[in-house]
Structure formats: C-alpha cells, structure tokens
Assembly symmetry: C2
C-alpha cells in the first residue's frame, strides 16, 4: 500500500505540496490490525490519531461492570481520535477493530508541527468537527428523549437506500454491535425488531431490512 497515494486522497491534505506530503509521510505509518485487536484505550496518552484505510473500527466507552456503549463506528476514509491531540492529550474512549483493518497512524508531534505551519488545515478540520458535534448532539437527544422503537426506526431510515423502488437498509454490523451503537442490549434490540415486524413496519431478509412504507415508519422515529 502506497502511503503517499493514500495521504493525497485525504480531503484534509488536498492542497499539500510534494514537500509537505513528504513531511507528513515522515510522521505517518501504516498499522494493520486483526479483528478484535485494541487500537488504543481510554485514558492513555494520545500520541497519534488515525485514518481508516480499510476495515471498520469502533469507538466505545466501557463501564466498570463491563457494560459497553459504542460512540461511533468508523469506516474507510474516516478520521479517528483527531480531537484528542489538541487538548488534554488523553484518549477519551477506546478503539477496537470490528474486522481486520488497516489504519494510517499520524503522530501527534508530527501533525502539530505541520498544522502550525498550515493553520488553514485547522480551518478545514472545523467542518469535520462541526459534523461530529452534531452527531453527538443527535445521539444525546436519542438517549435522553427517545425510546428504543424510535431510535431503531431512526437508524433504519437514516441508513436505508432505495433499490429498484424498494427502501432497504443493509445491516453493516452484527446485531450485537448495532445494539451497543443504539444504546441497548441484544435482547431489547431483538424485541424491538420483532415489534416492528409484527406491525408490518419492516421485513427482515437475510442481513437486510426492507421498509415497505418509510413514511409510516417515520412516525415511529419521532
């Protein structure tokens, strides 16, 4: 895998000159991880941030009694933990590979020295931050103001596409992971899916959910 080519493809670095890409490349390395492998743990020194090259990783919080909440699942192209390098310098959550993955690791020191010479980089990062804040606001809203039916309905609608006139949501993660992402346990996810099925709001087919009437399901998402 050509690091330079991958770096050039990242939106953040589009305006970099060859020399600047050299500098960044010197601060970067590829990290291959296997499914289940820990990439970093909450509370540890944030020596780097990452960009997902392939595979999927999840960011999550663990409670003392072993319960887990997934903050985000990152796919190829996503930045991971970039906020941690600007303040406090500790990772605020943990990161694990959901499947075999490759990550571009960019060291904090290298990146901070580059961004000081390219503060316009920071301006470019602002919209990414803004989007991340909005995602978190939406998650807080769901956890505090919506029940499981509404959360699941919202998830299904937001992650569905229209294929041959049929609205369909292909499940990209296991149900166990989906339940952790939606803030519940697998039992409750099963029950909520069953409720939606029994009320003819969804049809489950292999690893996909067909939504016969998206407008009807939308009523449940509020």
């Amino acid at each position: 895998m050509d690091i330079r080519r991958f770096i050039s493809g990242i939106f953040l670095f589009h305006s970099f000159t060859e020399k600047e890409i050299d500098l960044l490349e010197a601060s970067a390395s590829l990290k291959k991880v296997h499914k289940g492998e820990q990439i970093f743990s909450e509370g540890l020194d944030a020596t780097a941030f990452f960009v997902v090259v392939s595979g999927k990783v999840k960011i999550f919080k663990l409670s003392p009694d072993g319960k887990e909440h997934t903050l985000h699942i990152h796919s190829p192209g996503d930045l991971v933990a970039e906020a941690a390098i600007f303040d406090s310098m500790l990772y605020p959550a943990s990161c694990v590979a959901l499947e075999d993955a490759t990550l571009l690791r960019i060291s904090r020191e290298g990146f901070l020295s580059i961004i000081k010479r390219h503060p316009d980089l920071a301006l470019k990062m602002m919209s990414g931050y803004s989007r991340r804040l909005r995602q978190f606001v939406a998650k807080i809203e769901e956890l505090s103001l919506k029940d499981m039916k509404a959360r699941l309905a919202s998830y299904l609608l937001e992650h569905s596409t229209v294929e041959n006139g049929v609205t369909i949501c292909n499940l990209k993660y296991s149900k166990k992971e989906l339940s952790a992402l939606l803030g519940t346990i697998p039992e409750t996810l099963s029950r909520t899916l069953a409720f939606l099925k029994q009320n003819n709001l969804i049809i489950e087919k292999n690893n996909a959910i067909i939504i016969p009437d998206p407008d009807k399901l939308r009523i449940f998402s509020l």
Copy 2:
C-alpha cells in the same frame, strides 16, 4: 458596556491588532435578553454565534411531546453555537436565557471572513472543540451507562469545592434545571437527593449540598 474591551478580553482574540478588532467589532453587537427569552431555535439558519457577557443561557433539545434535555448551560466567557457556522449552517439545538443576560453576537459572515485571514484562529479554537467533544462523550457515557444515583453523585463531586475543610457544592441552578441537565425529571431528582440524604452521603443546606465524605460518595459515582 464597551464591546471592544470585552472582545479584547476573549482568549480567541488576544493576538488581534487594533485594526482587526475594528473589523471584528463591525461584525459584532450586544444583545440583551430577559429571563426565559429565546436566543435561537433548533433548525433555524445559524447567522451568528455568541459569547456570554453576563447571565446564564441553556442549550437544549425538545421532543415533540414537550420533554426537554439540557445539553449545556453557558456562563460568562463561554462561546455559544460557534460550531454551527462551519457546516450545515443550522443551529442543532435551541438556546434560552436562564436569567437576564447580555450576549455578544458575532455574525457568521463577518467571522468567516476574519478567520479566512486568520486561520490560526481556527487552530486556537481546536482545543475548545476538543473540550466540548469530551464533555459530550462524558454525557453520552452517563446517559447510557450510569443510573441516576451515579450521575448525581458525579455532578455533585465535580462541582464541589472545599471551603474551610468542608466539601460543598453550591447549586447554581434551580432543581428543575438541574434535572433537565442530568437527563431526568424533577421527581426523580428529588428522590435521588432524598436517597443520598438518607444514606448520610449528603447534607442539604439552603442552596448548597455538603458532602461529608467525598470518597464515600465517589463510590456511588462510578
């Protein structure tokens, strides 16, 4: 109130020249609001962000059936809704004054043109963003992984100071507001306070909570 003097006191603008402060001042105005007055609503065009000069404002989400969740309460010196001007351009939540307040309003257009000439501003803003993200991660953790006792215990410990060898948390908001901030209803907050009182973990005195044994209360905050 001297806008220029206030602007100069904001960390973000410390390195501005007189001329630059002129430009910023031209994009700014003071906004006086009364207790309960709406400053902006979720979904509206984000034409400006704000800095709290005096008083307190809350950022909150409302559900269709009138339930409310407070995302943050801002005090003098805090930036409000600055993220909204970088992406999407809509306010992701609403803002209301908790008491009579004065806000510095900075127009989006003015600020964006200034930041394009001062991208180092964006770099300065990154640590503020990083802190905001951490706050949201902590809130999500509490809503998903902690019960009300733990949440309240955490809040009391984090907002307490030691006065004359006594750990004391002065309540800065009404209990109604505190319950919305902690993600519950007033009844549950009352009950949880009563539980902590009956177990000798807190003593309630006027508008303050005395914590006789912080280490003991900390066990409940996990």
